[in-house]
Symmetry: C2
Subunit: 384 residues, 2 copies
């Protein structure tokens, strides 16, 4: 039912909800209304005492009562929430004992450099992701079923932060040093700065999303966080550790990261879905020049970061394969957003063909067997 | 180790953290600095690239790097987060089958009136609680270890909303009607309005908490949500359903509410702790007249609500015992806040002596036995 590989996997969406806009509409034309379809663009004021009419709900700029969860207009959002809860895990569920030995006695200096800097990037990133969704995005949603998944999302980011802290404590790293690395390593700082700039631009609560420029800026920031920050940088950012895992090293950490990756795929998927719904409801034209600049900036920052992390390649992994995979995934995200052009023509094959498999791993084999099956709450999840 | 009954139970706090202020300081005097104690009131700007010094962290108005979780200044906040995760549950864990039959064939009309209106109040309240902590409070915290527990808190409120929705769907109630009740029943609306007014007054992101009036208003709102909204209205608000449970009715719903109550006790406890820390760090004087007005307003709203919910008393429960218990719990919260006077002299005995026992129930007896013990993550929790 759920496909962890593909953030906007078709099986999760009802046919009628799949593509509210087609690519050209997304890019340069006002979103056309499907023949026979009725979209309510003039919100009903919440002054009456009638129950909320779901047709009046909107993703943003809505005026229905935010305190009335149901009836749902966006049942898919509620399903994201239910599914996320079914996949609950904590870092304490995973055995880290071997990682302590691996780190001390088996990792080379180059591998330690990769491990520590990736951890440092991830921990700073996940606090930022938490602040983005919790402090900047959630408040702008005007339908409670969207806020409720985002509440889970905020929590999942905090679970990830706990996970990194758990790794740092277990391995016995200097936590002050790890947390501070992003401020002293320019190549890590650059990625964080790019994200912080987007975050800062949508942090004010007095942003008027009925203003076309403010709306466009908000949607660009949402696209950045869903498709690049979570969809590319995170999705692709665990790979150096997975490369260690494939050689039997740091397997506990890698398993933690697989769970985080699964969450991040859901976040990217949900975000892309919300963005497309906003573009449809608000009849927004996205500026393709800004999209191109966004991809380019993300690419440059990733390249500098990768060259620093992998200044000395490690066995089975290099800066080249990492960047090849980044371009490949970026193209996939562009397609999922419904953009008419892909950012990196030529990067049409995965340089890390095992990465999607990693994301798709049947988790119950190595994780849920330590728990009673009941906890997996029935047959609601299918991993095929 | 944890005491669910008492929000600021001593065993959870290290002795040196227990009472940063004494009652008189809280009320009418500037908080004195303990002899020999160094409190940093001049924040270090985050311009240097040194790791964060935990001594520079502050609850609000701090200037240390929000992206660096550790080292902790408030390890108790981190412990709240870890403990909350250990107590994870979802509404699907609890069998609701008997409730469907109970509702249809066993409840009297008066009991149905209680059940539906209590559910309606709770569901509106929990969305409001989610918005308060997620959209108004969390952003004002300047230490990440506080935000991280609040991220869990936001999620728990959304779990509660799911729980009510699960009850509504299982029993087969009209969800539009239940969610809308708070707008058509003045006695429910009044409580929500009192809370909404506090929330609205702290929702703006441009609030300057270095301004003494703004700071006082923010702290009053935090006191309201922690000590009254969660600490009294929620803590006491489940009791009418527990009264049914004690007669063998609606036991599934009541068990759900016991889990919610356990979360809410943690929220109240954390909030009171944060409030006291702010008062200490900011050397704030609390206006006792405003405190008295707050209690009075909360009491009046609760009284009107209770008279509506229990306009016809049900077997084993009445408006009188409900209000007696409200006053008793309010006095307890005042004590936990360190206030020098209790709001309701004379209400020194519980009118519902079984309520604390309910909060203290050994959950593993009826809940965790449906799961493998491993899930309870070891011996970290003690229920004694």
């Amino acid at each position: 039912m759920l496909n962890w590989d593909d953030p906007v996997a078709k099986p999760m969406q009802k046919p009628e909800e799949l593509e509210p806009i087609i690519a050209e509409q997304l890019l340069n034309q006002p979103a056309a209304i499907e023949p026979g379809e009725d979209i309510t663009l003039s919100p009903t004021p919440a002054t009456s005492q009638k129950p909320v009419d779901p047709d009046d709900k909107r993703v943003i700029n809505g005026h229905t009562d935010i305190n009335q969860l149901a009836p749902f207009k966006y049942p898919w959002a509620w399903n994201y929430f239910l599914n996320a809860n079914k996949n609950h895990w904590t870092p304490l569920d995973i055995n880290m004992a071997q990682d302590v030995t691996d780190y001390r006695y088996k990792l080379t200096l180059e591998e330690k450099h990769v491990y520590e800097n990736v951890l440092s990037y991830l921990t700073t990133s996940d606090i930022l992701a938490m602040r983005n969704i919790g402090l900047a995005v959630m408040e702008k949603m005007s339908a409670p079923e969207l806020q409720i998944y985002q509440a889970r999302q905020v929590y999942e980011e905090s679970l990830h932060t706990w996970t990194y802290q758990h790794c740092i404590e277990t391995i016995g790293l200097d936590q002050s040093e790890i947390y501070n690395l992003y401020r002293v390593v320019p190549e890590i700082h650059q990625k964080i700065s790019v994200a912080n700039r987007r975050l800062d631009s949508i942090m004010r609560s007095d942003i008027d999303l009925t203003d076309p420029d403010e709306l466009h800026n908000f949607v660009m920031a949402y696209i950045f966080f869903a498709a690049i920050f979570e969809g590319c940088w995170f999705y692709n950012g665990f790979s150096p550790i997975f490369a260690l895992q494939r050689r039997g090293l740091m397997k506990g950490t890698a398993e933690q990261l697989q769970y985080i990756m699964r969450d991040e795929v859901m976040h990217a998927s949900f975000g892309i879905r919300v963005v497309k719904q906003i573009i449809y409801e608000e009849q927004l034209k996205i500026d393709m020049n800004q999209i191109r600049q966004m991809w380019e900036e993300a690419h440059e920052a990733e390249k500098a970061y990768t060259n620093y992390i992998l200044k000395d390649p490690i066995l089975g992994y290099s800066a080249e394969v990492h960047m090849g995979q980044f371009q490949y995934i970026a193209n996939r995200r562009a397609g999922q957003l419904g953009l008419s052009e892909i950012p990196f023509p030529g990067a049409e094959e995965a340089t890390l063909p095992w990465l999607d498999e990693q994301a798709n791993l049947r988790k119950e084999k190595n994780f849920f067997e330590t728990r009673v099956t009941e906890y997996q709450t029935g047959g609601a999840l299918s991993w095929d």
